[in-house]
Amino acid sequence: MTITVEYPGEDGPAQATLPPLALEAYTTKDVPLDSVLGSLPLPLPFCSIRIQYSGAPGSAIGEVSSVEAKGDLVIDSRLANERDGWVGSGAHPWHLDEETESILFLTNMSEKSARIGFDMVAGGVHYYLTRLKLKPHETRAIDLRKVRDDQKPDLKGNKVPVGATDGSVVWTRLDHVPVMGRLVVLQRHRKMASSYDCYICDCAPDFFDLDIDPAAIAILVYESILFEGVAWFQEHCNQYEWPYYVDASFQSLSPPVATVTTEGTATGQSGGTATIKAFYTDYVYIYDHVLIDCIEHPRQRTGYGTTDVFTFTVNISPSTIAPVNAGTPNTTTVTVQTNPVTPNQTVTLQDVRVANTGGHLNHPLPNTNVSGTFNPSSGTTNSQGSFQSTYTAKEFGGEYQIKATIQEITVTGPITLRVQVQGLGELSAGGNYAHVGQIPGIHEQNWFGTSSTRNGLVATANACAGDANCQGSSVPYNDISLPWGGKFDSNTGNWTTLHSQHRVGRNADINVCSPWGNQDRRDYLWQKLGDASVGGASARLDECSTHNCWHITW
């Protein structure tokens, strides 16, 4: 007789074998496992005991007793023969509370992989694990508390109800291999452990149907999605049905709309609906009373799914709006339209400022200020397949790309939004005035204004030059507005600035401080600025109070 301990090693199931021992007829032997435990990579969460004996099947029975090292908790488990007619599936009650744990141990006793059907039931909800597979001789411990608390939806979207304390767990092997299962319910406060290992059916369940997951989904042109096959197995001895993800083969029945790889990756090609077909072969079993075994018969099943392939566009109206606090309108309507009409698509909007636009060159605009706001910024397409939002500009001029994202595909609107004060033009160079105040590489164009402002500035400088009382060095014209208007910082990145206007082209700064001229000259210049037939300005603010740096308003 050989006793083998199978345990989870770093590279998969591992084994440790005790020296062979002899068990004489009608004798009982108590075999301590202390010696082999010393050679194991402790601590181990669990392990399984496998006993091979040379006698006839059923000629030996055994039991394993596990004793808690630091306490007096003992778990007794009976041993069963491989290929025992009832081994292969089980149904057990579980319980979870502060003192109670429920752990399902599954052991693949074969030399082949074993797919496992798993159903944890609570409150009438069935929760399936659909990818559970045991390697040869692997023992897997499934902590039902973890399954409950993970709250991961299964293929039907079900979850074990939060806080469920009682239910049943049903499992089965989906391949014709021996699998042992046992549910251990540990109740430490009572120092009790219950071990359940009842069995249900003899043969593995039959493969009877094939589904595609997802069964129907909308994807975008050029978007890809992975379809998977879900095989359904049915027990012989009851009505239990088990879903399990399988490696089906796929084919598109509408390649112009969507192509699909054999492995199931579908890619949208054009608008429309595509039917996706899947094939898969597995077994049904017939119990042979002569051979006392389940005989496999292969069956191919077919499943179908659909995918609606669509495109979407992003449009804005109007395409030019004013920076906030620099005229109106400050808002534009953003419309995302799917084609063909595809409702219930989640849309997310964003704006991206186009660099070096609006007169801000290489400008460290504060990130938090650059983007406008969408109301709402996300939502779902309506029954007409469209989604609308209102975009409000920030106070900066410049170009913005409006982007919409559906299913991780982002589309940029064909028209770039211009946040711009309209009607601004650049003050041309003139011999009687000087252009000052540019910041190279940052604000190189600071001379944009309305036609009234520009005409007034030109006429004022020329009139000054033609007046003996005013003429002298050129009139130094500083900031007017940026090419597209909007907030204008006086220094690089300084937005909390005294220079918070100059947004709509009707403010100009004139640095007439000494040594530009004396008070008489400034008086004449101001009169020309305020002359309706010359400058035409309406108001003058002496910003520095003492230095004659004028902020002129038209």
Binding site: N325, A459, G466, D531, S533, A539, D542, S545
Partner: protein, 288 residues
């Protein structure tokens, strides 16, 4: 020949009997009219995102602009600056002067008309006179400037002005602090032009339109409250108008008849009866 503004019909170069009972100097002229445009509270100003705190919470600048009337045409324009302090800019309305304009035109050598404008800043004014402007319709006009007074140079005007189509405003204004026209004082401005005499607009404004900075520029909605020239006291006087030379006799008569009610209102014509007499004769073509 000396022409008075109240005898503006002389522009027709005709001899027109003033009619019975006419006493052209008996009626007091009316001060220039004010529209009394109200300065209310500014339009809402959208708070501006200036940055974020370390925790990521947005920081907005909300200047809360508002206006506090101070009386006598002065206003405190208030807002919260970027520093968090409340800032105040003092603003003076341009229409706090009461002004009467009287004008004479004298034909001089080479058919040049010499216009004299007596601008009286009445005692009821709350501010010095800041400037006087008369609208002309000619390119041939020569205002008289002086070391104390600024006058528009018609040779250097804005490109977007067509003096015949839009009119050319000639500005006269005291220069700096050297010359002040206080309430109760008067000043005479002169210009010459060969153009015919027409009935034209004039306007004035109070002094002290320069505002002193407070370290930050006011939000634009406060700048929007500044009153423009349409708020200045305005009325009618005589001045050069080239357009009249191109009119037929009938058109000139029509021009006069249409302005008779205006002349009565301004005090250029003594009463209704005299106005009717002029109207009847002009319509009948009794101009010679």
């Amino acid at each position: 020949m000396r022409l008075r503004a109240t005898a503006a019909i002389c522009l027709l170069e005709i001899a027109l009997w003033p009619g019975p009972g006419a006493d052209l100097g008996a009626r007091e002229r009316q001060p220039l009219q004010k529209k009394n445009i109200q300065i209310g509270q500014p339009a809402p100003y959208a708070p501006e995102l200036e940055g974020r705190e370390e925790k990521g919470n947005p920081v907005y600048w909300d200047p809360k602009p508002h206006v506090v009337p101070l009386g006598n045409g002065k206003y405190a324009l208030k807002w919260i600056g970027h520093s968090g302090r409340e800032l105040t800019l003092l603003y003076q309305r341009p229409d706090v002067v009461d002004v009467i304009v009287e004008a004479d035109a004298v034909l001089g050598p080479q058919n040049q008309l010499r216009y004299k404008y007596l601008v009286r800043n009445l005692r009821t004014s709350k501010q010095n006179l800041g400037g006087f402007e008369v609208r002309t319709f000619t390119t041939a006009v020569k205002p008289q400037s002086s070391p104390s007074f600024y006058a528009t140079d018609p040779a250097h005007i804005r490109q977007d002005i067509d003096p015949i189509r839009d009119g050319l405003w000639i500005r006269f204004a005291p220069l700096g602090s050297r010359t002040q026209i206080r309430p109760g004082q008067s000043v005479v401005f002169e210009l010459t032009s060969p153009a015919r005499l027409g009935i034209l607009e004039c306007r004035v404004h109070a002094d002290t339109l320069t505002m002193m900075g407070v370290g930050e520029e006011p939000p634009s909605v406060l700048e929007d409250l500044y009153l423009g020239r349409d708020a200045w006291p305005q009325g009618y006087t005589i001045g050069p108008d080239e357009r009249l030379a191109k009119m037929s006799l009938a058109a000139r008569l029509k021009y006069l008849v249409e302005r008779l009610p205006q002349m009565l209102q301004l005090g250029w014509i003594e009463n209704q009866k005299v106005m009717q007499w002029y109207g009847t004769n002009l319509k009948a073509g009794k101009v010679a």
